[in-house]
């Protein structure tokens, strides 16, 4: 296993780091307080080519491996967690379309998304079916050269901001998971509407809302893959998605560490900088160890995925450990900064509010444990 980047990937990592430091970090709070989609950043990342990292060159991508992608995601999240999540979800939907969709479908949707001209959401969860994704009730009924889809998708990242939705629906509830099928639905199509943006604990730089489908007609060519492979597509996408969340959480931890360390070196109590207290140093030592462990687990899963090797277990482990650690690290960062840390004028409280959701989406951490346990049952 080799996590060393070649010169080109290293330059791309440096670019992501510079962009995160100069463009994203100073705007983290502004983006998070906006309760709107950060369109300017979304477009800028597209123009620079960040959404094309894992797509082959013949598809207009950069043909780089998943390891480079994960490393870039970590850097971006260090600057702004909302931006990191945006890049992860958008790339996941686009890449699933490229991998499973017909050539025509891929040619129609992938280039615009890769260029950052259109935003692509991933719509699997429903109000009554979260972890139990195989049970989804959104129904697709075959009709006149296409399908008519009815159902409600819940907690969909981007919500009404998205241009396209990768919607999972069942063509036959009797078939259970074997009936689930993936479709691309466009905003503006008859019967598609949105719930009010959800009021959330954190991560308010991106909209989350219901996506409601009422007799939405989807032409047959917008079916992604065959009937019945939808859950496979979704879970396959989630392998990559989970590595993305692990990278996101690692980036957030790094930010929490940097911000609180800077503070600990300046804050004076009892006549000395608080970093001089050994119990403070131990906190940072623990944080550093958690960051390192998370980063390595993420890179291992990403490396496997990049090599086309099985990585379901490793992706789950990386997601589980990184997001659990990230919650601990963000909480400690607030602790180090005392009351200042708890105030919205300082950056760490929003990290703590955001980081909770990383233990919930793309499979709760309980579900990750189930996935991991399956490997030795």
């Amino acid at each position: 296993m080799d996590f060393a980047l070649d010169e080109t990937s290293e330059q791309i990592r440096d670019l992501a780091r510079d962009f995160a430091t100069n463009e994203l970090a100073p705007r983290m709070a502004e983006i998070d307080d906006a309760h709107a989609h950060p369109w300017d950043i979304f477009k800028q990342l597209g123009e620079l080519g960040f959404y094309g990292i894992i797509f082959p060159e013949e598809a207009g991508g950069l043909g780089l491996d998943f390891l480079t992608y994960a490393i870039v995601l970590e850097e971006i999240a260090t600057g702004c967690f909302n931006t990191g999540l945006m890049m992860g979800v958008h790339t996941m939907s686009t890449h699933a379309t490229y991998t499973w969709g017909s050539k025509e479908l891929s040619e129609k949707y992938v280039p615009q998304c890769m260029a950052g001209e259109k935003l692509f959401a991933f719509a699997l969860s429903e109000p009554d079916y979260g972890s139990d994704a195989a049970g989804i009730k959104t129904r697709a009924v075959k009709k006149d050269g296409g399908y008519v889809i009815n159902g409600t998708k819940a907690w969909i990242t981007f919500g009404e901001a998205a241009d396209y939705f990768l919607v999972m629906a069942t063509v036959d509830p009797e078939l259970k998971s074997k009936g689930i099928t993936a479709f691309i639905v466009e905003k503006g199509w008859d019967g598609l509407s949105f719930g009010e943006p959800e009021k959330k604990m954190g991560g308010n730089g991106l909209i989350t809302s219901q996506v409601i489908l009422e007799d939405v007609f989807v032409p047959e060519e917008n079916r992604v893959g065959d009937e019945g492979v939808g859950l496979k597509i979704a879970l396959g996408a989630l392998d990559g998605g989970r590595i993305g969340i692990a990278a996101n959480a690692t980036g957030v931890m790094r930010r929490a560490f940097d911000e609180s360390l800077k503070y600990a070196k300046e804050r004076i109590q009892f006549g000395r900088e608080i970093i001089r207290f050994q119990s403070m140093q131990f906190k940072f030592a623990d944080m550093a160890a958690k960051i390192e462990a998370s980063s390595l687990l993420t890179k291992k899963a990403a490396w496997l995925k990049g090599k086309g090797l099985p990585c379901t277990k490793e992706a789950s482990i990386a997601k589980l450990i990184s997001t659990d650690f990230a919650n601990e690290v963000c909480s400690e960062a607030v602790q180090v900064m005392g009351a200042y840390g708890y105030m919205q004028d300082y950056p760490v409280e929003r990290l703590l509010r955001y980081i909770k959701c990383t233990q919930i989406f793309e499979g709760t951490n309980e579900i990750q444990r189930i996935v991991i346990a399956k490997h030795f049952m």
Partner: protein, 260 residues
């Protein structure tokens, strides 16, 4: 037009510089494109993007290591890169560096030359102007506004109390100041494309120079040693009634700081 951008490899401004035995320690230091040179590259790319038959070249003089920085500069969107690689580069003064660059420019050809107003490592601010003089070209330094129309360059530079406007024909040399433009980030595609673009490494011989022309042999200036800046002592607040504090201030300026 062949637009050549002169690019120097400098230590990252974030890098912690340490001095050992009168020399700067380079291990662990990251090297980057001199930030002022990026304004020149941006201006060159803008000319190219505005249309017409233009090519943007990067020219670097440094050790072999500088190839990486030349490539980073190319990643902004340049067409071709040239490196004059010689171990003597760190020992070259502004005159000698300019001599090498001028020789390389004669070799590759040029219609317009951009350069940073200074390098952030030695801050000598001389190389661009020296290159222009050696090539008998017009030049303007510390430029913050640039226009090119019908083979004529119109630039502006800040001078005491106002802006100076200069016009000259191409080819000429412009040294660029902050504010001239907003340098772009390299796109991922352009980073990837560098390895497919022509990159030439010249030896001194290739550009008609020899070891006698460069390094300590060819330089008028010899750097004898580097010293880290002295640690600044912390400030002192003089507290009390104005009559006493004023007296104390005068006393310490006279007796301690010895400045009055």
């Amino acid at each position: 037009m062949k637009i050549v951008c002169l690019v120097k490899e400098v230590p990252d401004s974030e890098a912690k510089i340490t001095v050992e035995n009168g020399k700067i320690k380079e291990t662990g230091v990251k090297f980057i494109v001199n930030p002022y040179d990026e304004y020149g590259i941006e201006e060159a790319l803008k000319i190219k993007e505005a249309g017409g038959e233009h090519q943007v070249f990067i020219l670097t003089f440094g050790t072999e290591r500088a190839k990486k920085v030349m490539e980073s500069a190319m990643a902004l969107g340049a067409d071709e890169g040239f490196l004059v690689a010689d171990g003597s580069a760190p020992d070259c003064d502004s005159h000698t560096t300019a001599k090498v660059l001028a020789a390389a420019l004669n070799k590759i050809g040029f219609d317009m030359i951009f350069c940073g107003k200074q390098a952030i490592d030695d801050d000598s601010s001389q190389v661009g102007v020296r290159v222009a003089e050696m090539l008998s070209l017009g030049h303007a330094s510390v430029v913050n506004k640039f226009e090119l129309t019908d083979g004529k360059v119109k630039v502006e530079r800040q001078i005491q109390g106002g802006q100076e406007v200069i016009e000259m024909p191409v080819p000429c040399v412009i040294t660029c100041q902050k504010g001239l433009n907003d340098p772009r980030y390299p796109s991922l595609k352009n980073i990837m494309a560098v390895k497919k673009k022509p990159r030439t490494v010249f030896t001194l011989d290739d550009i008609g120079l020899s070891a006698d022309d460069v390094g300590v042999n060819g330089s008028f200036v010899e750097v004898t040693k580097f010293e880290p800046p002295l640690e600044k002592a912390p400030g002192r607040v003089i507290e009390g009634e104005p009559e006493d504090t004023a007296k104390e201030l005068i006393r310490s300026l006279r007796e301690e700081a010895k400045v009055i």
